[in-house]
Amino acid sequence: MIEGAKWRRWIFFYIPLSAFIFTLLFPFYWMLVTAVRPDSELYRPWNAPNYAPFWTAHPTLDHIRYLLQETLFSTWMLNTLFISIAATLISLFCGLLAGYALSRLKFRFAGMLGTAIFITYLVPQTLLFIPLADIIRNFRLGDSPWALILTYPTFLIPFCTWLLMGYFKAIPRELEECARIDGAARWQAMLYIIFPIAVPGILSAGIFAFTLSWNEFIYALVFLSSPEEKTVSVGVTSELIRGDVFYWGSLMAGALLGSIPVAFVYSFFVEYYVAGLTGAVKG
């Protein structure tokens, strides 16, 4: 907390904080007012006497109704949920084992392998989708959720591995040594001692992996084609923009509803994931 006079607190704390919060939340506010704005207000020219872009005079649920009834939005939501959860679970499982091995086991090329995994994370998805598209076609996975469930781990596993590696390194080695002297095999020490202590780290890796999968756009755009297989991010943008016609109200409603699960997951695990990032293991 800022010490001293009241004005100092305003200048150095409240005003910057308010600016920050405003910047962060304004897009959500914009989504909300646009989603409930009737077309008559949406398409009012900027020089009209009653032009009011920042609020809605006569809110309507028409756009949301259109989104839910006339598009496959609920299917897209379910698709995204399934794909995100499956990709997250696969990546967490691999990331846990890889992170543990790289941080704890001594083996040849361990350091090199860690770096190599990190480098794969640096390859931009905008390049990687080209060879991946070929692989997806060869395995006949195109236009199915598995195309994404199996390709998302290409960037999620390196991410989870590195996050968890750092977390495991922060756990004192003696805990595990003590467990092994106490009669636990290495896998038991890992399962009963290290993983429970690493829960905050595992949860934050999971939350991030889930968010990354949920928001992913380019793979979903390239690998899925039929409307009923699409994810929210692709479905909303491809089905609600027809040529040069933007269904702004429904687009914003889709964006708003699509961000709810992520917001929910974050708020639910917020304490764990803060602990996971600050990496505090208290003995």
């Binding site: 467990a179 106490d182 095999a185």
Partner: protein, 364 residues
């Protein structure tokens, strides 16, 4: 209950020779302390016994069985770590029960053993607490309890008291000694604190640079150190050293001589020193063997000193004095009134002089 035998044990880390040819025979029920400055290889030796560190060469036997290739879980040992290594997500009871659960003991047996250990250590009231809710001393007790419940063949202690404050350390030292007397389990204890080593050990192993310097009972190390390192390491305050030349008189007696010291050596030790006449050797005198000279002290067993620092400890006064070219500490009666820069005459106990070879530093 078992004896532990270490034969020609070596450990090299990436070309660094951390433990060199250590040989040690630890009897059943014995409490052996490995002591030495940091980096002397004592912890590495202990970790090799525990199975946490691979053995470069040599053999370790626990109860007549070579354990070189045995994983830690199969060695039937228990270890107490410096940072306690309590499992933070388990309460005290589960911390102590973990080893027994892993070994598939029945619930009643686990409960009985945990309760018994908790009673020995006086932590019954804390059984449901998490480690972070405990004080340092209580955590240390839980760590001990976790070792006790297992009824292992050997206890290993890796500097278990060094995270505690001075008062608690003394208290826990006594407690560890009591527990060992009560349970009679063979114990290997690593510390850098020579007081801990002397008070706890049935035998003490002094190590330096990966090499065992001397193995012996505490008073044996104190009274007959094998070399200058052991002499300086064991005893507090540390032994004083001065380089002197052995000079022979025409009529027989030997003298130890330097710029500030000229003392006649008692007849009992002249035999050993005769062959070093004319050589520079190291003279060792313990601070407690020095006193302020009185008129009855013979002049050839005393020397002049200038007081540099006076430390009033209560039961004694520690004087840091300058004697010729060297500084010495003298532990004198609390009644002595000495001030900085005072000239004093210090008398020594001629039966308690130590001499070390100038080159090899081995005791003469």
């Amino acid at each position: 209950m078992a004896r532990v035998v270490i034969r020609n044990l070596n450990k090299t880390f990436d070309g660094f020779h951390a433990v060199k040819n250590v040989n040690l025979d630890i009897n059943d029920k014995e409490f052996v302390v490995l002591v030495g400055p940091s980096g002397c290889g004592k912890t590495t030796t202990l970790r090799m016994v525990a199975g946490l560190e691979s053995i470069s060469s040599g053999e370790i036997l626990i109860g007549d069985k070579v354990v070189n290739e045995l994983p830690p879980m199969d060695r039937d040992i228990a270890m107490v770590f410096q940072n306690y290594a309590l499992y933070p997500h388990m309460n005290v009871y589960d911390n102590m029960a973990f080893g027994l659960k892993m070994r598939r003991f029945g619930r009643p047996e686990i409960d009985a053993r945990v309760q018994a250990a908790a009673e020995i250590l006086g932590i019954q009231a804390q059984l449901q607490r998490k480690p972070r809710q405990l004080s340092g001393g209580q955590r240390q007790r839980v760590a001990l309890g976790r070792a006790i419940v297992r009824h292992p063949k050997v206890f290993l202690f890796d500097e278990p008291l060094s995270n505690l404050d001075a008062k608690l350390r003394v208290q826990m030292r006594v407690e560890i000694k009591k527990i060992h007397t009560r349970l009679g389990t063979t114990a290997i204890y690593v510390t850098h604190d020579q007081v801990e080593a002397m008070t706890l050990g049935d035998r003490v192993v002094v190590m330096k640079d990966g090499v065992v310097q001397q193995v012996g009972e505490p008073l044996e190390l104190y009274n007959a150190p094998a070399n200058r390192f052991v002499a300086g390491f064991i005893g507090s305050p540390a032994m004083n050293f001065a380089t002197v030349t052995i000079v022979a008189d025409a009529d027989g007696p030997l003298w130890a001589h330097n710029d500030g010291i000229h003392i006649r050596l008692p007849a009992e030790i002249t035999g050993r020193l005769r062959q070093h006449v004319g050589e520079a050797v190291t003279l060792g005198i313990r601070p407690e063997d020095l006193r302020v000279a009185s008129s009855s002290d013979p002049a050839d067993l005393a020397f002049d000193a200038v007081v540099e620092v006076v430390e009033k400890l209560g039961s004694e006064i520690l004087l840091d004095v300058k004697v010729g070219p060297s500084t010495m500490a003298a532990s004198v009666e609390p009644t002595v009134r000495a001030k900085v820069r005072d000239q004093l005459r210090l008398a020594l106990n001629p039966d308690r002089l130590y001499f070390f070879d100038g080159a090899s530093q081995a005791a003469i």
